[in-house]
Amino acid sequence: MGMEGIGARVARKEDKRFLTGKGRYTDDMVVPGMKFAAFVRSPHAHAKINGIDIEAARAMPGVIDVLEGRQLQADGIGNLICGWMIHSKDGTPMKMGAWRPLAIDIVRYVGDAVAIVVADSAGEARDAAEAVVVDYEELPAVTSAVAALQPGAPQIHPEAPGNLIFDWQIGDPAATDAAIAQAAHVTEIEILNNRLSPNPMEPRATLGIYDAAEDHFTCYTTSQNPHVARLVMSAFYNVAPENKLRVIAPDVGGGFGSKIYIYPEEIVCLWASKKTGVPVKWTSDRTEAFLTDAHGRDHVSKVKMAFDKDHRIIGLKVDTIANLGAYMSLFSSAVPTYLYATLLSGQYDIPAIHANVRTVYTTTVPVDAYRGAGRPEATYLLERTMEVAARELGLSPAELRRKNFIRSFPHQTPVIMNYDAGDYDASLNAALAAADWDGFAARRAEAESRGMKRGIGMSCYIEACGIAPSQAVGSLGAGVGLWESAEVRVNAVGTIEVLTGSHSHGQGHETTFAQLIADRLGVPIASVNIVHGDTDKVQMGMGTYGSRSGAVGMSAIVKALDKVEMKAKKIAAHLMEADESDIVIENGDVKVAGTDKSLPWFQVALAAYTAHNLPSGMEPGLKETAFYDPSNFTFPAGCYIAEVEIDPETGKTEIVQFVAADDFGNIINPLIVEGQVHGGLAQGIGQALLEEVRYDEQNGQLLTASYMDYAMPRADDLPSFTLSHQNTPCPGNPLGIKGCGEAGAIGSPPALINAITDAIGINHLHMPATPLKVWSALQDGQMRQAAE
């Protein structure tokens, strides 16, 4: 592998600039004449707008203009859309309500944008935004999806009667019902998946620049996928044709899904720049981020899992209601359907599955993909159910799982997915050994002697990454293909630029991708630059989410590298008068195998550009482009074990150990993979123990709009993690990569809740397991015991 090649623990190249404060984020961008925007936002969850008076605001100091939705609509700017069509089981298309970038007649969540103020300074823009007088007529709010489906609930969009967006199903209802009817045992459980705020360190920001002379727009934005942003803003929002719109996503400080989507602010700032004739910058503050960044999760599910007399699962029935918030965000419809219900087979051989999913409008911020996106919901549901089933059946959690593991591949599940490779026993065994599961009873007894309640729990997760085969997702309703592109550009002196459609916002692509080049060509990673995030530089791309940049993005680089290597070998063979098939590239030299003939890499590159002596008919230059479309999803899997101690006096949970045993396929940089797992675990543990978005059910106000009330995991909430890998290479892509970005967030919540419920001897406890909730559960348990 070499010192810097595939498999090497190389420190991240990009960290010097991040750690020394030299990163260049959207808010760092300064252009001549730049002005600042503030948005007028609805203070109500649901209200009719009877009028907007902007005159006082317009007269405020420093104000350049105040613009509202009617002007935007008159200029032909389109509504925001959801790009993935889902049909209900009755064949009708999903019922998408209008999402105007600036609300005109109705506001539907606290934070809904109504107008934009452009002023000389951010402070003046804010002062003026407060002076905009909006005449609201309050309408009733509804914040929970279950409540929104009740008869008589407030109607949110005229397009979606009863607030139902779609009523979709997957799998075989008759076979599943039959399995349940003949089962030896059925485990039933209700599962709530708590609503989360993504909280990237860098809040969203955008800078819209209109050049009147060229009739051209530039959009700096905090995006995980600048090309998708350009495509959507051109094709659907009518901001500008693609050749007149450049989108740049420079350094981006985390996304976790929330920066996939195009939000109203990008569209409105671009439009406002044209209206006002000045570049317009907007930067979210943290409260705005809580109010307007797309949230994640928010499912309510009923589950029935049927077992035969040998404890084999014979059927799984799931009924889920998913809250999509006030509007359908860009990929919102795909998350509780094809990213969720297709994973309900887990690691288990289940002959019959049926899942029904209803998605619902509420007067809350839109809900879309957040780290894991559907797969954490599926894993939590399955692994909580498996735990409860094991307790009901009197089996150890490992034994019940082993009885049901899939062991032959490829494996076709009843819910679309075709698993290509895996070894679930290997991860389970490794995790059990690392956690010393067998020694738990002694540890529990010791904890009891200190008055503490100790519990242990596991979770065996699977996820689908490497999103995704374009034809397959197209047939399921996706509005885009999910391939990736790359260009490998060898400079005349042999240094290399790789242009990728993937986007790095914390993943370390500048290092990992360079390691691939170093591995193939034997050049140091210092001589490789990764270029991304600018639609004017990079040909085209679909961006980074769904753990796709290794499996899909790097596969595109491999394809381009193959072409570069082939051409370089041709040139070298010609220069050294050897046969092309005898040329090998080793340690930065291009050699004739079995001889002492050799050329340094840079001389081959130089020859390609001087073109003084190329094979007859060959074009000069050494630069190749490739597009890679995956043939299947990839299927990372693993086993996580959490061990906790609960203080019964306060209900506080301490994680005493956390073991993660993962199969990510081949690994490029173990250091970065471990970092990804650590970060994912922190977010999964956050969901399990701390995080929850809460709205006031009566008036729809966001109660958790700051870090005073929204609990993020801190270092002292987390244990030291014990990681290991049991990798089976992915057969579907050239590097054998499966992806590692989301596993931690997917696998950890059920392991923790299983451990906590084990500790307190209660089967049902909903996330987050706050001290209040655990203490209350213990009190209820004591009262029940006393009553019995």
Binding site: D127, A711, M712, T770, L772, W775
Partner: protein
């Protein structure tokens, strides 16, 4: 944040004069609450008069068992004071538990008690230690100083210059943190002195910091970690919010009192 004018006072007189000439002005003594509130545009003082650079307001003196802490002394100085630790380690422990290192180097004892956040730590210590709050114009017993949620006996423009207290025989502090803000959901300061046992509770009371007489009586009868367990705490007097119900807080008052007694030794 709305526009504001910043003044750096160099003496108590200058600070008081500046404050009296600006009706909408506020003293700034660390700003760990005020600045955050201003950034959210929930407070809009026209002028900020910074007290942290007034030499007379800074520093700690220990004379026998009498401890005097200047109003603009940051928490980190209290936490690390060997002189205080020698006579009353509990107050050092409390200071070391406030916020994070940034907060402890900016926030001050005067700022904390003048703000009287119902979840702040220092008010519990002041009340349990029967401290005296010294201002630019008078001395106020802690018992009379804390009057309600974010309310104190301070008059318009009155400035806390120092606090002083007699180190007790034993004292201890224990708090249970809010998982989000890390402020006290419940914090209990216990002190055993010649005058008796005093127990003060922060974070829990619906009217701010209060003395838990039932626990005081139990500890006066038997200074033992188990004594608070049976003490009656009425949830009707306690706050209830999404992080902690009143019943849960009542439980935490007893549990934190037990742990404070253990800490006191």
């Amino acid at each position: 944040m709305y526009a504001t004018s910043y003044h750096r006072a160099s003496s108590v007189d200058e600070a008081v004069n500046l404050r009296s000439s600006h009706d909408e002005g506020r003293y700034l003594s660390g700003g760990m609450t005020l600045i955050a509130t201003m950034k959210q545009r929930l407070a809009a003082p026209s002028d900020l008069i910074d007290l942290r650079h007034i030499a007379a307001l800074k520093g700690i003196t220990v004379d026998g068992h009498t401890v005097r802490i200047g109003g603009a002394t940051p928490h980190a100085d209290v936490a690390s004071s060997a002189a205080v630790r020698a006579v009353c380690p509990a107050i050092c422990e409390l200071a070391a538990m406030i916020g994070d290192p940034h907060v402890r180097h900016m926030g001050t004892i005067g700022g904390s008690i003048a703000n009287n956040d119902p979840a702040a730590d220092y008010p519990a210590a002041m009340l349990a230690l029967a401290a005296t709050i010294i201002t630019d114009r008078r001395e106020i017993p802690a018992e009379e100083f804390f009057t309600g949620l974010f309310e104190t006996a301070l008059e318009e423009g009155e400035l806390v210059t120092a606090v002083s207290f007699e180190a007790p025989e034993k004292a201890g502090y224990a708090k249970f943190r809010n998982p989000a803000s890390r402020y006290a959901i419940t914090g209990v300061f216990v002190a055993k002195a010649a005058g008796g046992v005093r127990v003060a509770v922060t974070g829990a009371g619906s009217n701010g910091v209060f003395r838990a007489e039932t626990i005081e009586a139990a500890l006066a009868a038997d200074w033992s970690p188990e004594s608070p367990k049976a003490a009656s705490i009425d949830p009707a007097d306690l706050m209830s919010d999404m992080h902690a119900s009143a019943e849960y807080r009542a439980n935490l008052v007893r549990v934190m009192a037990k742990r404070a007694v253990i800490a006191a030794g």
